[in-house]
């Protein structure tokens, strides 16, 4: 009986589909702990020739409210950036304590929120800054018509748009970026996919920083593999960068490795 109560709580909100479960009982709470970890390493690009850049971030949240595809999540995030040439702006480890409202949408997610970021601003010496941002991400496998028979090829891609006060080093600056990447699966072998791709990312800001107003475009090839809870990819690309304020272009070949792992363990509290 007790286990049955737990079960009914887990499916609270899906009553229309669980009519055959026969009993309707008071729902206990389901608490989930969504989190993620990602690392990205590779050449910094033509703006910093010969510089290797590594980034990593860990985020752990707590779902305090959920209604269908809506989630309210306070979270703590720590990140780290380091480079081989020791530039000050590439060597930092900010921490964020914030809350976000997240909405699952078809093949993607949109979320917005705000909180406090802990990162030293070299200009003022201040360590704490308000942060706020909104992000939209959508990814696809290019087999969206699989139900109707599917296409012989796969076209994985993603789009990402972010805007907000994103760094404690320039806390009053509202920065935005939009990126699009589209690939085609050339071959698959034992869980590995070879994906030639093209992508572009535009960044701009309200303070008109030269380094924030750029269009970066990649044409490359990568190997991707799904791992438990995420994906890892390794690739090379020809990267072209255009400064929108300087009207200067540059290009170089870059290599990269990216890893993303997500988790969402949950616990049920018994009434």
């Amino acid at each position: 009986m007790r286990r049955s109560i737990v079960l009914m709580a887990l499916v609270c909100g899906f009553s229309a589909s669980v009519a055959s479960a026969q009993n309707v009982m008071p729902p206990p709470a389901v608490v989930a702990f969504p989190g993620s970890f990602w690392i990205s390493a590779g050449d910094a690009g033509p703006a910093e020739p010969g510089n290797m850049l590594g980034q990593g971030a860990l985020e752990q949240g707590l779902t305090v409210w959920q209604d269908g595809g809506w989630f309210l999540i306070p979270y703590v995030g720590v990140s780290m950036t380091a480079d081989s040439q020791g530039y000050d702006w590439n060597n930092k480890h900010p921490t964020t304590v914030a809350i976000k409202l997240q909405r699952r949408v078809a093949n993607g997610v949109i979320f917005g929120g705000g909180g406090m970021m802990f990162e030293r601003d070299p200009a003022t010496g201040r360590e704490r800054h308000l942060t706020a941002s909104i992000t939209y991400w959508s990814g696809w496998q290019g087999r969206s018509r699989a139900n109707a028979g599917g296409l012989p090829l796969e076209f994985p891609g993603s789009i990402n748009a972010t805007a907000g006060r994103l760094t404690g080093r320039d806390p009053e600056n509202w920065m935005s970026s939009v990126s699009l990447q589209q690939g085609v699966v050339a071959s698959r072998w034992r869980g590995l996919a070879l994906v030639p791709y093209g992508g572009s990312r535009a960044t701009f800001d309200t303070k008109r920083r030269v380094w924030e107003n750029r269009v970066t475009s990649d044409a490359g090839v990568k190997l991707t593999r799904a791992v438990t809870g995420g994906v890892v990819e390794v690739g090379v690309a020809q990267r072209h960068q255009y400064g929108m304020l300087t009207h200067q272009s540059s290009a170089t070949t870059v290599g990269f490795i990216n890893l993303w792992i997500g988790w969402n363990p949950s616990a049920t509290s018994h009434p």
Binding site: R3, Q22, S158, G262, P265, S266
Partner: protein, 149 residues
């Protein structure tokens, strides 16, 4: 910000590995239970979550066992008949019920994999049973002997 690419046959395999949950709630409701802030059914912990739900079925085990037996029998019947239209429709129904998380695997690919096809057809039958009036699915199941827990 860097996300995984959502969706995948991993979700389909996850559903197939927990037929009792699908038997009770149907595919769509089971998938809905697995939605995390980042996606349906790909995060670490999702399988554990589903296993925990399955372990908590308790008093519903007789119903799910009966539906599973009936679904496996019905799926075997579909495979034996080899009617291309029927198989394609069953796969399409299953993928549609699974939703955005199952859009990267095609009907043709499932049909060409005998083991996966059988699993998908079982899911299809389980989904039908979950949405059918209870007395119909119980009637169609064979007598249960020594299945009580």
């Amino acid at each position: 910000m860097y996300f995984q690419t959502f969706g995948g046959s991993a979700l389909l395999h996850l559903l197939a590995a927990h037929p009792k949950v699908v038997a009770l709630f149907g595919i769509a409701a089971t998938v809905a239970m697995l939605i995390s802030p980042n996606g349906p059914g790909r995060d670490i912990g999702t399988g554990t979550h589903l296993a925990r739900i399955e372990a908590a079925l308790g008093s519903q085990t007789a119903v799910t066992d009966a539906r599973q037996v009936a679904a496996e029998r019905a799926a075997a019947g579909i495979v034996e008949r080899q009617e291309r239209g029927e198989i394609a429709a069953a796969i399409a129904h299953t993928l549609h019920a699974c939703g955005a998380g199952c859009t990267d695997i095609s009907t043709a690919r499932i049909a060409s994999d005998a083991i996966l096809l059988r699993r998908v057809l079982v899911l299809y039958e389980l989904d039908k049973a979950a949405h059918a009036p209870a007395h119909r699915t119980v009637e169609s199941a064979p007598p249960m002997v020594n299945r009580s827990r």
